[in-house]
């Protein structure tokens, strides 16, 4: 059979956001894969350097709907580093709690989506039902289910009351039990194993070379977790294991994520035990002194990096976001080539992609003619009307 050009996206049921993957397939085998990003570029980095630090907080939260708290956390860490503001201890614990809550809800969300991609909708329904428990906890603590607005410059917005603590402990207990059950399903259900074992494989050294991060890297047997390597908040005081898998396939990534949910539950309980009474906010200056800082955290999808440069005003001069999905895309391309067409959705989903975080715009100037291709807003409008 001749090679078939096979597009996935920008509109495709397997993709939750618009992005274009182009494949060249020979029968059921993928010969070439090409990932094209840029459909949901929102120019957040640029916009950030036109707004003040407090406004940027809200903007950064909206980089992503799933890891919204991770973005504000990383942003605040970078800005607080420049301003040399030390936040109160209780605020650090609450930030840690939110960070782990978000990891639990995000990994559960991913597990459900993974089930859906391989036609296992019952898993999807069950997991998303249980995820509601975590969503309820997040709502109790912060007042909202998506963009929590908990992390602010100089601390956190709301305190955790004893009633909340009771509810959190109950929910965590339930979720741990359920997650252990899902771990059992992932390792015993035959059709699930058939669809995930030896699918989308990538070796540890290659994954490192391609700059993969997070669960993708750990599932290839590389011991790298920012929480352990470069502890932030109070991660040096809690006990947890860096989950790894030698399987280096989709099943390995599933197990790493499922075990990370259980770990996150344990971390939450430890944090609740360690938390001491005290202030949750400290005063943050309006103007940030001149300087630059890099903050890195282990978001649920992998290592998230924020770079902030300040020129001494209330507006950052430059803000740069490196999201984990961008780092994982080269590895994803490597995983897809040589696999089956049927495995495209689950392989690509196994990096837990988030496109709107990832999309960047690159303008390439033609070197030979030295013509620039930069457009003004009115030219862009005209172009879109002509089309």
């Amino acid at each position: 059979m001749a090679r078939l050009s096979f597009p996935v996206g920008p509109q495709h049921p397997a993709l939750k956001e618009p992005e274009n993957l182009r494949f060249s397939v020979d029968g059921e085998l993928v010969v070439e894969a090409d990932i094209r990003i840029g459909y949901v570029h929102r120019s957040i980095e640029r916009t950030c350097s036109e707004r003040n630090y407090v406004q940027d907080l809200y903007l950064c939260e909206r980089v992503c709907g799933i890891c919204s708290n991770a973005h504000t956390l990383c942003y605040c860490m970078a800005v607080e580093q420049i301003a040399e503001v030390e936040i109160p201890e209780r605020a650090q614990y609450i930030r840690m709690l939110m960070h782990e809550f978000e990891r639990i809800h995000s990994h559960l969300l991913w597990l459900g989506v993974a089930g859906h991609e391989i036609g296992f909708d019952t898993l999807f329904m069950y997991v998303w039902r249980d995820r509601e428990v975590m969503q309820d906890i997040l709502e109790t603590v912060s007042g909202s289910r998506g963009h929590y607005g908990m992390t602010i410059l100089g601390g956190v917005r709301y305190d955790i009351t004893p009633e909340m603590e009771e509810k959190i402990r109950e929910g965590i207990e339930y979720l741990r039990e359920r997650t252990e059950y899902y771990a059992k399903i992932a390792t015993t259900e035959t059709t699930f194993i058939k669809r995930t074992e030896n699918v989308g494989g990538i070796t540890g050294p290659l994954a490192l070379d391609l700059g993969a991060v997070g669960p993708v890297l750990r599932a290839s047997g590389v011991d790298y977790d920012v929480r352990r390597r470069f502890p932030y908040l109070k991660y040096d005081q809690v006990e947890f294991e860096v989950r790894m898998s030698e399987m280096a396939d989709v099943l390995g990534r599933t197990l790493v994520r499922v075990h990370e949910i259980i770990d996150a539950c344990n971390i939450c309980e430890q944090v609740l035990d360690m938390m001491s009474e005290g202030e949750i906010q400290t005063r943050f200056p309006r103007r940030v002194p001149e300087g630059e800082a890099v903050a890195r955290i282990e978001a649920q999808r992998g290592e998230l990096i924020y770079y902030v440069r300040s020129d001494g005003t209330d507006v950052p001069e430059r803000l740069k976001i490196r999201t984990p999905t961008l780092a994982n895309l080269p590895a994803a391309q490597e995983m897809l080539v040589g696999g089956y067409v049927a495995d495209i959705p689950i392989t690509f989903a196994s990096i837990d992609p988030c496109f709107s975080c990832t999309d960047r715009m690159v303008v390439l100037d033609d070197v030979s003619t030295s013509e620039t291709t930069t457009m003004t807003w009115s030219e862009l409008l005209e172009l879109s009307r002509d089309r």
Binding site: F6, P13, A14, G119, D121, M125, T191, K194, R195
Partner: protein, 323 residues
């Protein structure tokens, strides 16, 4: 009356209207069961009917580069094949509307028509997803069709006739042929999942991979016909398996002989419907409990784990009947 009776049989019962209504009802049972298994509420009773009517009223688009006659006619051929086969399958008594010595093979052939029609329809719609799905339809056909035929031959050989009606009549002494061919029964049920393209064998349609495959370019009326084809095929396939393995309308303790023709026909139909719904229950259970597997895994697994048991059971039946 000479003309009206056959016409009634073809159009109303057990033909078109009965199959459509019962098929839609069975699909409601199916959806409701899956919803219950998945901890959801599920659709109301008339939802499949509403979906079907809505689909009929939608715009019907034919792709520009497709082969228009083939694209248009294939769903009708598929539906016609399925509805024609009900003529040879016992529905209200052990005697089918028409019966002759090798009608089992004819029904097998007619039930293969949807797969071939789906392949052609997908292929001629010239969409990459449809092309890929069409090749999967044919690949999968090898996987389930061989074990299905082998499994259905076992009761035929046990009853000593290749007529479905004769096989159903032979079970009237109270011993269903599932006792002679239990492995074949299981094989036939699993192969039916492949025939109906349901989870775990919904590989040719695979929504998250190839966007419903061969059906991707179909819309409106023609898509409704495709949906109807698979709904009615579930009923016809269920009726066929019931007739071959579960005694058709027979059930212990129901005195069909002492009832009038109308009452016995009505009771027989209810009994058969319940058996078909039991098969639908099995289909729903499989859909809720399993994930979709890959095409090469499917063919390999089916030929190994369906083909060999079916052959074994067939050999056993041949051995016993010739003893």
């Amino acid at each position: 009356m000479q003309v009206l009776t056959p016409l009634f049989h073809v159009l109303v019962f057990p033909g078109f209207i009965f199959l459509v209504v019962f098929g839609l009802f069975a699909s409601w049972v199916d959806r409701k069961l899956i919803a219950k298994f998945q901890n959801r509420v599920g659709p109301p009773l008339l939802q499949p009917f509403a979906d079907f009517i809505k689909l009929l009223s939608k715009e019907d688009i034919v792709p520009e580069h497709s082969d228009r006659p083939m694209f248009a006619i294939t769903p009708l051929i598929a539906l016609a094949g399925v509805i024609a086969s009900i003529v040879y399958i016992p529905t209200w008594s052990a005697h089918a509307l028409h019966a002759f010595e090798v009608d089992l093979i004819v029904v097998m052939y007619l039930l293969t028509l949807p797969a071939f029609a789906l392949f052609l329809g997908g292929w001629y719609s010239t969409n990459p997803f449809a092309t890929l799905g069409s090749t999967r339809v044919l690949t999968q056909l090898i996987g389930y069709e061989v074990p299905f035929l082998l499994a259905c031959l076992a009761p035929a050989l046990a009853a000593g006739s290749w007529s479905i009606s004769d096989v159903a009549i032979a079970q009237h002494d109270g011993l269903w042929l599932i006792t002679a061919a239990p492995l074949s029964f299981i094989v036939a049920l699993i192969a039916l999942i492949g025939k109906l393209e349901r989870v775990p064998f919904d590989i040719p349609q695979a929504k998250t991979e190839i966007v419903t495959g061969p059906e991707v370019e179909y819309s409106g009326r023609r898509l409704a016909v495709w949906k109807l084809t698979f709904l009615t095929e579930a009923i016809v396939g269920g009726a066929l398996i019931s007739a071959l393995f579960l005694g058709g309308p027979h059930f212990w303790g129901i005195p069909y002989e002492s009832m009038g023709p109308w009452l016995s026909g009505f009771v027989g139909m209810i009994v058969l419907s319940l058996k078909i719904l039991a098969i639908v229950f099995f289909l729903a259970l499989a859909q809720a409990a399993l994930a979709r597997i890959r095409i090469e895994q499917m063919v390999q697994w089916c030929l190994l784990w369906l083909g060999i048991p079916a052959l074994l059971n067939l050999g056993l039946v041949v051995f016993i009947t010739h003893l």
